[in-house]
């Protein structure tokens, strides 16, 4: 114990921890570095180049998949955040009521049921509707994504609401504000960071989805992740590295914003 005994240190733990951080980041960093590789080969380094980014950018399939991914993710984020905000207002700060557990269970169902099971369920359900109505548009994907994004939008909004003091709203009511004015001028601005955080999580979750999209999509409705999955089945191209790195960058930017938004309340 000559090196100074510390109650918080356990032998070897720091070494394992550092190793696990290295193991977590080494594959991701390799992917990022090789996305700038000029060489055709995925193994050999041929100098710095943006050719794979250019190739991905000019690939019409990638363009279409990107636009589709964004349309779905923005719609799903808007829809899920709207209904989640309403549900959070109805289920927090006002005392427990009968059936609240049922509401919780339903809202959190997408977190509990394995995604492959939900995917299969939606495939069966939508296949029947597709046959009955003949409609094969994007609405199925938007509906599916909106549904599984609800808990991700709901949880940060609820957390924000629970930390908010009802006294401000009571004060507004005392000063003869109508319920709508109170909501619009007091509650909503206070909830703002929670809503923004929830919308961002929903957006990221929708953008990342592979399994449910793969099962629900009609022919020619690839999103960026399902396009990449299809590419991986054939040959590995450095183009996928470039797309992955671009998506990774977007995730990191959104996450940083999310942390800044949720931190301010502390």
């Amino acid at each position: 114990m000559a090196r100074g005994f510390s109650v918080t240190s356990l032998p070897g733990f720091a070494a394992i921890a550092i190793t696990s951080f290295v193991l977590l980041y080494a594959p991701i960093l390799t992917m990022v570095i090789y996305s700038f590789n000029a060489s055709e080969s995925v193994a050999l380094w041929g100098g710095f180049s943006l050719r794979w980014y250019t190739a991905a950018w000019e690939n019409t399939q990638v363009q279409e998949a990107t636009i589709r991914s964004l349309v779905i993710a923005v719609s799903a984020a808007l829809i899920s955040t709207t209904v989640a905000t309403m549900a959070a207002l109805g289920t927090t700060r006002r005392g427990r009521f009968k059936g609240q557990t049922l509401i919780y269970v339903m809202i959190n169902q997408p977190l509990m049921v394995p995604e492959i099971v939900t995917a299969v369920a939606l495939l069966i359900f939508f296949a029947a509707i597709k046959v009955a109505t003949g409609y094969t548009g994007l609405a199925y994907l938007v509906l599916a994504h909106s549904a599984f994004c609800v808990p991700f939008a709901y949880l940060p909004i609820r957390a924000r609401l629970e930390g908010m003091d009802l006294a401000l709203e009571t004060a507004a009511a005392d000063l003869y504000a109508t319920p709508w004015q109170t909501f619009r001028r007091v509650t909503l601005p206070l909830m703002g960071p929670g809503i923004a955080a929830g919308a961002m999580l929903a957006f990221v979750i929708s953008l990342d989805d592979v399994i449910i999209t793969e099962f629900v999509k009609s022919a020619g409705q690839d999103t960026l992740p399902t396009y990449m999955l299809g590419q991986l089945r054939r040959a590995v191209t450095p183009e996928v590295n470039a797309i992955s790195t671009a998506l990774l960058a977007l995730t990191v930017i959104l996450l940083t914003a999310f942390f800044l938004l949720t931190r301010r309340r502390d």
């Binding site: 190793t19 080494a26 309403m86 109805g90 289920t91 169902q109 099971v117 609800v150 990774l248």
Partner: protein, 298 residues
Amino acid sequence: MSAPTPSTARTGWILSIPALILLALGASGPLLIVVVYAFLEPGEYSGVVWNFTTEAWFRVFFERDIFDDTVSMADAHLTIFWRSVKLSVLTTLITFAIGFPTAWFIATRPAGQRALWLFLITIPFWTNLLIRTFAIMEVIRNQGLLNTALIGLGVIGEPIQILYTDTAVLIGMAYVYLPLMVLPLYAAIDRFDFRLVEAGYDLYATRWRVLRRVILPIVKPGIVAGSILVFVPSLGAYVTPRILGGGKNMMIGNFIELQFGQGRNWPLGAALSLILLAIVLVALLAYVRVTSSDRQDG
């Protein structure tokens, strides 16, 4: 918090209705249809024929010979179940062995540094699963980083075939689910009162005894939460075994998909989905019981 009133309940329900309708259409309702489909006959090309039968459930475990109708165990199915459970348990154990020291390390950093280390765990957590699986695939390929490095160091002469084996699936799942183990463990260790460790040492306990008798029992809820969070998605994994396991090393998730693709047996796929769901719900209920009884004891 104000007392619940009838209007609280009414407002609560009215405000929740849009979310509930959305989830009924996009999650709960379709799940009920799966239950119905598991008791129907498969259609010739896909879909179902509306005749009630328990054949799909029978087919999960047994198979009938096409010619003489003899019944035998469906070995191929059992192999897939066994592989899924085995790989999920191993994934949970590996992520715990690596994740516990990592969570401990983060929780014992000076307060100012902790957020940064946590952020470093959170980035991979929120990064697309497909991208992470793809990244680890690049590392373990025959011409990948690992084999190239080992050959360069002279450890091996020929590249080791890791990709498209169970080992690859295991490495991949441990890699992608590690953050799910670290985050709840961190939450538990962060609340831990380190004076208890001090007391243990004062009473001449060895480090090993302190770890086993003081630390582990107290952070048990975090261990259980982390294990559930890793085990449940591992068991239902689809993307990682599909990419790293190749076509042969299927897990339950891929086997379910097969029934809706080439297998053309929707009822069997529905029955398999419900079995997977049942295992997951049992695990979640066990988790609720363990954590709630701990709360009562503590």
